[in-house]
Symmetry: C2
Subunit: 228 residues, 2 copies
């Protein structure tokens, strides 16, 4: 297009919305905030905000997340662009959704203080503004697709974890159950776990803690080997 041509085009508000999943040992949770402004003031919402004129969209996502929750250094991936003309009730806004998985315990300090974000189990999400429910749905779908091919999900656990905890996580994500024996064998066969000498003591026998073998973990992450 001729440079002048740009003038005759419409400019549109572009926003980002952040979907943060966390695991509490039993179920997957999503982080939500109470909207501080109209439209939808007081309603629950994803963490969202506008993209600046000279700001990369991905940078905007990180900035907005930090402003609204205090969370920093979270690796978010672009999920989808929601571009229906009427998706925002007040104005035309095209929104790009980003999502990440984090370990709730690890980030809880950053979170709890000044900001009023709250975790909701993904099966008990309250009513949300605009099309945020649809965004969450899409994020869940992508998560389920992805989890079977990439060793994500570990990001949701503490550094040290037991095989049972890992299994519970996968069962929560995939909404199914696995044979505990087969699960252990399969995971261990990938060599992405290192066994510690320490045991977790909540059960009679006690389960050994494991940590990742970073190198093998990243190799698998790249190759996307099927491991569930």
């Amino acid at each position: 297009m001729d440079i002048k041509k740009y003038k005759y085009q419409d400019r549109i508000f572009v926003s980002v919305d952040c979907i943060i999943f966390g695991f509490d040992g039993r179920q997957i949770n999503a982080l939500l905030i109470k909207r501080a402004f109209e439209p939808g003031k007081g309603k629950w919402s994803l963490m969202g905000g506008f993209v600046g004129k000279d700001e990369d969209v991905a940078d905007a996502a990180a900035r907005v997340l930090k402003q609204l929750t205090g969370l920093t250094d979270i690796y978010m991936e672009q999920l989808y662009c929601f571009g229906e003309a009427n998706r925002d009730s007040a104005r035309r806004v095209v929104s790009i959704a980003y999502s990440a998985f984090i370990n709730i315990a690890e980030y809880n300090e950053q979170l709890s203080t000044e900001h009023q974000a709250r975790w909701f189990p993904i099966h008990k999400i309250p009513s949300l503004v605009f099309d945020h429910k649809q965004m969450l749905k899409k994020a869940k779908e992508v998560m389920m697709e992805k989890v079977s091919r990439h060793p994500i999900g570990f990001e949701l656990l503490p550094t040290k974890f037991t095989l049972s905890q890992l299994q519970s996580l996968y069962e929560a994500i995939c909404e199914t159950t696995f044979d505990n024996g087969n699960f252990a064998k399969k995971i261990l066969s990938t060599n992405i776990l290192k066994k510690m000498n320490e045991k977790e003591r909540s059960s009679r026998k006690g389960a050994f803690y494991y940590v990742f073998d970073k190198i093998n973990y990243e190799r698998l992450q790249r190759n996307g080997i099927r491991f569930i």
Copy 2:
């Protein structure tokens, strides 16, 4: 946000870019056009254009594709949003890329007449404007991911096709070769193909034509069963 708050936000040009893949029997091709305007006038480019103020982003993609190539009724999927601040050399433009696979022969009439779009083998793509090369790269990656889990790729073939043609297509996409016997067995075991009584006659023996069994095809498409 307070409605007034919108006023203080930046508005940004939003565009769409369309990536159309086609198969000619030997290799995968991408459709490109010569840009008619600055910046980048005369250079090769994906089919792109701006999103209107009251236009769904997905609708814009279909409109732009039609305007620039004549192609209609093509099912495009959203690929990715490219949002770097400096991706367009003239202005700030956030672009949402869409992609589709089509059968070259079937759409050739629609294409060839007035519009000057051209097919390029994906290993011989010329220099492209902006970040369009990166868009194509991303589209190829997603295609390769997807093709192994969903029976796409059939969209790239004529209605009637032989097992060899199908195999060539998959080999082109996956950049590998398959054992022809195993390939035939595996595809046939999915029951998504119906054998015709007609033979293609380019080889000595001649190969039977096949068509899809629509119902089983769509069932597989939904379930995403691994079939390569």
